[in-house]
């Protein structure tokens, strides 16, 4: 293998026909506000945990909608559950409850 001084990045194509949307469906069944999110990013902008880590609730919902379930599980552990995001959400998404549900799903979905 030759080191050219640069490397290709992993391919980030998401084939939505093959995406595992089981977690998205599971969450929406338990908290319908999950489907109300418009990905405006207000939650991420006000997030205390996001100030010190790379946590973003917006990115978390994107991961779930793309079927990146294991990434969603690990990301959900970064939330401090302070609830500031609930206060700023223009769509009244129950963000804290959704994070709690993701953590719960982590226990159920794991083999």
């Amino acid at each position: 293998m030759i080191d050219f001084g640069y490397t290709p990045m992993p391919i980030t194509v998401h084939n939505m026909d093959k995406a595992d949307l089981s977690l998205a469906k599971w969450l929406a069944e338990r908290d319908e506000t999950f489907n109300h999110c418009i990905s405006c990013g207000s939650c991420a902008a006000t997030c205390t945990a996001g100030k010190f880590t790379d946590f973003s609730f917006r990115e978390l919902t994107h991961s779930i909608r793309r079927g990146e379930i294991s990434k969603a599980f690990s990301e959900s552990e970064k939330c401090m559950l302070c609830g500031k995001c609930i206060l700023v959400c223009p769509r009244n998404v129950n963000t804290r409850n959704i994070v709690m549900l993701i953590r719960k799903a982590n226990q159920i979905f794991k083999p």
């Binding site: 293998m1 640069y6 990045m9 391919i11």
Partner: protein, 355 residues
């Protein structure tokens, strides 16, 4: 939307392509990397189709690469382009045919600028007059050289010795058509078939008997992208874009990639080698690479031109598997011989994918 509906929408994107008397302008990078491609184009136009093509030794690069990397300012490139237009008229021609898609995009952009901002055109006139004493007129017809080959595709097919068909199985070859971004993404009305369904290469492939593959990343950039490549630290972006395309087309088992842009031809050819070196991965059948050819190289193959005189050995991804599939008669021993038959020796330090 059904495919027929899409074709209908884009079918109105047609353009006038001149019949004869072409003023030919070279690509700065293509004649260096694939020197036989321009030669093949001129041979097809002059010897096969009997057209009048004039190549002026005084013409220059459009400076497009420097413009896109912000080395050359807009006023300078306008003046350089105006000088080439002036040379065309001085030689009695009015149909301008650049062989580079970047150049074609530059000319289209500048003509559009002059249409909307006449003061820019006047300023360019002043600059050109002060610098060279020349006057210029816009071309009557501006088309890319792939448009010219597309226009005469039926005449070429009528004289063809081979077809894009697998000699053993009789099946049409699966061909990926890759259109340079600057051909019609900036000005859809300037491309045959517009931006989404350009026919310029697909029509050529179908006329020559091949089958065009419609794969997910068909309209994705080849990975050149100028500043993604020129700065070494950014080259990961360039090769990642190419890798995404190769991975997307791989399941369709393409036999050939045809391009109409020198940059696309170069990057899709060379990056296959780089990816093989970096990751040990090839995207063609049997561990081979996917041959990458320009439109006139493909036309030259079907017309029965000697592949080595067209310079096809300059492609890093080996094209011999393709020649064998089509059943082209060629001498493998002539691969590294010069124009007068002298032995040039094997390339040093160059590894061909599964040669």
């Amino acid at each position: 939307m059904k495919k027929e509906g899409k074709k209908k929408i884009w079918s109105e994107y047609q353009k006038e392509i001149a019949d004869d008397k072409f003023y030919f302008v070279r690509s700065c990078i293509r004649q260096t990397f694939f020197p036989g491609s321009d030669t093949a184009y001129l041979k097809i136009l002059r010897d096969v189709l009997g057209k009048d093509v004039y190549e002026d030794p005084n013409h220059t690069t459009c400076t497009g690469i420097a413009y896109h990397t912000e080395v050359v300012p807009f006023s300078t490139i306008q003046t350089v382009v105006a000088r080439n237009f002036a040379l065309m008229r001085e030689n009695g021609y009015e149909n301008y045919t650049p062989s580079c898609v970047t150049s074609f995009g530059i000319y289209s952009e500048i003509l559009d600028t002059w249409h909307h901002f006449p003061e820019e055109k006047q300023r360019t006139r002043d600059y050109l007059r002060k610098a060279t004493g020349r006057e210029f007129e816009e071309p009557a017809n501006l088309v890319h050289t792939s448009d010219v080959i597309y226009k005469f595709r039926n005449e070429i097919a009528a004289k063809a010795k081979y077809r894009l068909v697998n000699k053993e199985t009789g099946e049409p070859l699966k061909v990926v058509d890759h259109i340079g971004c600057h051909y019609s993404k900036m000005f859809p009305s300037k491309g045959v078939g517009g931006a989404e369904y350009p026919q310029v290469l697909a029509g050529l492939v179908e006329t020559f008997g091949g089958e065009v593959i419609d794969y997910p990343e068909r309209r994705h950039c080849c990975g050149f992208g100028f500043r993604q490549y020129f700065v070494q630290a950014n080259r990961g972006y360039s090769i990642s874009a190419s890798k995404k395309k190769f991975a997307s087309m791989e399941p369709y088992k393409p036999d050939l990639i045809i391009t109409n842009c020198p940059g696309c031809n170069y990057f899709m050819d060379r990056w296959q080698y780089a990816l093989e070196e970096m990751e040990g991965k090839t995207y063609g059948a049997n561990g081979e690479g996917i041959p990458v050819l320009s439109y006139e190289e493909v036309a030259g193959i079907v017309l029965g031109f000697d592949p080595w005189k067209m310079g096809l050995q300059m492609h890093q991804t080996d094209i011999e598997p393709l020649l064998k599939k089509i059943g082209v008669e060629y001498n493998p021993d002539d691969k590294y011989k010069g124009p007068n038959g002298e032995d040039l020796g094997l390339p040093k330090g160059l590894k061909f994918i599964k040669d």
